[in-house]
């Protein structure tokens, strides 16, 4: 059985997603929804990992946690400041689209990692893991849908004006 691999894949994907949500939220802090929801969703990634913890132990995967802090480190503060400085320029639009696209793809990775784990949980008849995987999958999917909505809203403005 290689379930530890599937769990590790979820851990890596959720950790990467959490980091990117915070990083892009800070980089585009003047897009206030990205900033606030970025932090909220990063915390949810961390919550996903802690829900996975007992299963990591059960199936022999390493423990993992995503650190999401509210106190701004130096790097976050610098990103935030530079976002405010660039906030009055249209040139940031293309960067915003690129970042949203990367974030969406990272969210898709996480969503798919949960699909794979849920499949295995089902075949193993591990009811507890299946429940966690299904619920987390639904939330990971919502993250992707949110980014899709945001990209659909922003792309015409970035690409067509000016």
């Amino acid at each position: 059985m290689k379930l530890d691999k599937a769990i590790e894949d979820v851990q890596v994907a959720e950790t990467e997603l959490a980091e990117l949500l915070v990083k892009i939220g800070e980089r585009h802090a003047v897009e206030h929804d990205l900033y606030h929801l970025g932090h909220t969703l990063a915390k949810r990634c961390a919550a996903h990992l802690s829900r996975l913890e007992p299963f990591a132990e059960r199936y022999g995967a390493p423990p993992a946690s995503a650190e999401v802090t509210d106190s701004h480190g130096l790097v976050e503060t610098l990103r935030h400041k530079s976002s405010e400085l660039l906030g009055r320029s249209e040139a940031t639009g293309l960067l915003l689209l690129r970042d949203l696209r990367n974030l969406y793809l990272t969210a898709q990775e996480a969503e798919l990692a949960w699909v794979i784990l849920a499949q295995a949980a089902q075949a193993l008849r591990d009811r507890d893991l299946l429940l966690v995987a299904s619920e987390c999958h639904e939330e990971a999917e919502a993250c992707g849908k949110w980014l899709r909505t945001r990209i659909k809203e922003s792309s015409p403005q970035v690409l067509v004006t000016g």
């Binding site: 206030h32 929804d33 249209e90 919502a142 949110w146 980014l147 015409p156 000016g162």
Partner: protein
């Protein structure tokens, strides 16, 4: 009777199921003989109750008002704002000619010159940067005919998605919560449900001050022979809370947890109508699973109210026979707004209490004509409550407007105002036309809003009856005719449509918003597919007739209404059509909800992120006529009190004022009743800060500061309140507050609900310090929520 001190007038108690007795309220200017006035039919525009009123005219001037005794909404009553607010029409500082900025100064100009400039800039931007460089931001104060003209012009003609109303700050969440649960917008109930109910559940709704005439109705029930039970959720000790059987003085920002806790109790005690839930809803299993995680003890910890009180509240809600629930800004402008508002719908659905006399939920409105902004699509909606993601709906609208469906921007939801300002900030929006609203005082984080409006590259047009703080920053200012000076219709929160006749001429060269927009469209040469003018009406009545076509077959069906039918009577509810020629009192009386995928106004959203669901997501619910129970987990607010900013800040209104006091600040009685800003502190916080009643304090958030005198009130410990009405247009030379920051929105945060995009005004972290001794009581009203502290201190655990 002095209706400043006696806000709700004489009581006329009545029993459940009886008709609310009529009481005609009237106010005429001093020295005016009633025999010499002519009366003109109208309805009040100073809150969403929309009480029918007659306007008194003498020698070409408005000289007073009186309630219409046969009005289905008010039975003749008027509140203080309605009685006194009309005096602003006669104010000496009304704008009477267009203004154009030259050499940095706003100077008088002709209409031709002013509109010429607006058209020239529009055309230049259309050529250089396309329609997405244009944005429009309007209000909840115009008439249906103004809104519909605006919506058709912007969405069908110019083709920009950047059109929103300040209803975004007021009832966007009501709109979205109704769409999520019932499929389409429109409050299902009737105001007569307050006559029939035995239980009232008010969440974040200070009815006594926001809807004075509705509160009169409720007071008359409370003092009648079979008093309804009342449960109130509010961090302030409002007059509504003082009357409550159970008052939960919640910690701001935790509505969702509390409402989940109440549903937990309803389900745990089996106070739900399982037959109704089974037959007429979808989503119960998920709801049950989520709320099972909110037992009263856990909720008490999150919300800061005793677990036993939560149980007591649930018992009242769960054991009555006829429940009316209502909510307002305490929900809409707070954290997790839409998710919370939906839970209030859920409470009534779980109880099977909807669509019957005395059983309904009110997602209340704030502004008098907010409902029409939503129906016409002058905000984030599409005309006739259509679904922007449903191609059939868009094609139908395009057929009516006779334009190419592709010309209507529907690739994404219409842009909300906070995003419009963001686009103006980053520079892709270069033209912003602001109609009848005052964002320089009413939007969050004012230093940011002012700096956006002041940008050289942004061309700002303001249509307004007064030189507001926002108008003062404009490039072109257009003087407008207001209520009493134009004919049109508007719809209140129980779907009652009123006609308001033109009673007097507008001052000077002021023109109606509809006329201004028609002229703008004509000068731009906006055409339909056959080369005919896009906007085919010239009078309000012609516009109303055009709008009827757009609503036929949709929930807000106006097709059976006409000016003739509205004239003389006093209010008819929509839908009004061949099937229901006198209107329909309650929606969903047959429990057939508007959730059919092909018919619904919205496919729904993920409540945490606001992700827009698509057609296939909605179809998967298999709702098809059943109401949708949606649940969500509580998540902590984005900004919480910390060591630097240890208190929670919230804003709100007082009974005497409306918005940024554009009208009420110009009515002597109302201005004198609440002349200046104040901040409220709980007795314990005041003591800790070494502050006593009337002292000057500075309230500071990470974004700005406010200086005002302190009222020590019955507010929850740890919470600071300031009214949002005060700005800078009437700073009096030499007054104590002159030169001090006094707008509550200097402090508020730029953040909004992910679903409704309604900004957050009820939640910011602040600190307070004393800056000077006072010389008496704070300038705050006494008989309202700002009443000085008593022995009762809410929020004490």
């Amino acid at each position: 009777m002095d209706r400043v001190t006696n806000i709700w007038g004489e009581r006329t108690p009545y029993a459940r199921g009886a008709s609310w007795p009529a009481r005609v309220d009237q106010f005429l200017e001093d020295g005016i003989d009633e025999e010499t006035v002519a009366w003109s039919q109208s309805a009040c525009v100073l809150c969403s109750n929309g009480c029918g009123m007659d306007v008194a005219v003498h020698a070409g001037r408005i000289v007073g008002v009186r309630g219409r005794s046969d009005d289905r909404v008010s039975h003749g009553r008027l509140g203080p704002k309605g009685l006194y607010g009309w005096q602003a029409n006669n104010s000496a500082d009304r704008l009477s000619e267009p203004l154009v900025r030259r050499d940095g100064e706003l100077r008088p100009a002709s209409w031709d010159e002013a509109l010429g400039l607006v058209v020239e800039r529009t055309q230049a931007l259309l050529a250089e940067r396309g329609p997405l460089s244009l944005a429009f931001y309007n209000t909840g104060q115009l008439f249906l005919e103004d809104y519909y003209t605006l919506a058709a012009l912007v969405r069908g003609g110019l083709g920009t998605p950047h059109l929103d109303g300040n209803t975004r700050l007021c009832t966007a969440t009501a709109d979205f919560a109704l769409k999520e649960s019932f499929g389409t917008d429109g409050d299902p109930g009737s105001l007569t449900d307050f006559d029939e109910c035995d239980t009232i559940f008010a969440v974040g709704h200070n009815i006594a001050e926001t809807h004075t005439v509705l509160w009169m109705r409720i007071l008359d029930r409370l003092q009648g022979p079979d008093r309804p039970s009342l449960v109130v959720i509010d961090p302030r000790l409002t007059n509504v809370a003082r009357e409550a059987d159970v008052h939960l003085p919640i910690r701001n920002g935790t509505n969702l947890a509390l409402l989940n806790g109440i549903q937990h109790e309803l389900i745990a005690n089996d106070w739900i109508d399982r037959g109704f839930v089974e037959a007429h809803t979808v989503g119960f299993a998920k709801l049950e699973q989520i709320v099972s995680e909110y037992p009263p003890e856990r909720v008490a910890g999150i919300c800061g109210v005793p677990a036993d009180d939560i149980r007591a509240a649930a018992r009242v809600i769960g054991t009555g026979d006829r429940l009316v629930s209502t909510c307002l800004q305490g929900v809409y402008q707070s954290h997790q707004a839409t998710a919370s508002a939906i839970q209030i719908n859920n409470v009534n659905l779980l109880r099977g209490m909807i669509g019957r006399p005395g059983c309904t939920v009110f997602q209340m409105n704030g502004q008098p004509t907010a409902q029409n902004t939503r129906e016409t699509g002058a905000d984030g909606d599409l005309a006739g409550m259509r679904n922007w993601q449903n191609l059939d709906h868009v094609e139908e609208l395009a057929r009516i407007w006779n334009v190419d469906p592709l010309d209507i921007p529907t690739w994404a939801p219409p842009t909300h105002v906070m995003q419009i300002f963001r686009l103006a900030e980053e520079g892709s929006v270069r033209f912003l036309w602001i109609i009848g609203t005052n964002p320089a005082v009413s939007l969050p984080e004012l230093h940011r809003i002012r700096s956006i409006l002041e940008q050289e590259r942004l061309f700002v047009v303001v249509s307004d009856p007064f030189l507001s703080e926002t108008a003062a920053l404009a490039d072109v200012v257009l003087p407008t005719a207001i209520w009493g000076e134009k004919t049109g219709t508007y719809t209140n929160h129980d779907r009652t449509v009123h006609l308001s006749e033109k009673a007097v001429e507008p001052p000077g060269q002021a023109r109606t918003d509809m006329d201004i927009l028609l002229e703008y469209g004509k000068r731009l040469g906006l055409r339909d597919r056959d080369g005919a003018p896009l906007l085919k009406w010239r009078t309000p009545e012609e516009c109303f007739e055009a709008f009827k076509t757009v609503t036929r077959g949709r929930p807000c069906d106006y097709s059976g209404l006409s000016y003739g039918k509205l004239r003389g009577g006093s209010g008819i509810q929509w839908p009004c059509n061949e099937e229901h020629p006198d209107g329909m009192e309650r929606l969903y009386a047959d429990y057939d909800f508007n959730t059919y995928t092909a018919y619904c106004e919205d496919y729904g959203h993920d409540l945490l992120t606001g992700a827009a669901f698509e057609r296939k997501d909605h179809a998967q619910l298999l709702a098809e006529g059943r109401a949708i129970l949606k649940a969500a987990h509580y998540a902590p607010p984005h900004e919480e009190p910390n060591d630097d900013y240890p208190l929670l800040f919230t804003t709100g209104r007082t009974v005497y004022h409306w918005h940024t006091r554009t009208k009420t600040g110009r009515a002597r009685q109302l201005d004198e009743a609440a002349p200046d800003c104040w901040v409220e502190l709980s007795p314990r916080d005041a003591e800790r800060l070494d502050i006593v009643e009337g002292d000057w304090a500075r309230v500071e958030s990470p974004r700005g500061k406010l200086e005002a005198r302190v009222r020590v009130s019955g507010i929850r410990e740890g919470v600071v309140f300031a009214p949002f009405h005060y700005g800078y247009w009437d700073e009096a030379e030499g007054s104590e507050s002159n030169g001090r920051p006094r707008a509550a929105n200097e402090l508020t945060i730029t953040d909004w609900d992910p679903v409704s995009k309604q900004p957050l005004f009820k939640l910011a972290a602040v600190r307070v310090e004393k800056i000077a001794d006072g010389t008496g009581a704070a300038p705050a009203p006494q008989g309202t929520a700002s009443q000085p502290a008593t022995a009762e201190i809410p929020g004490r655990l």
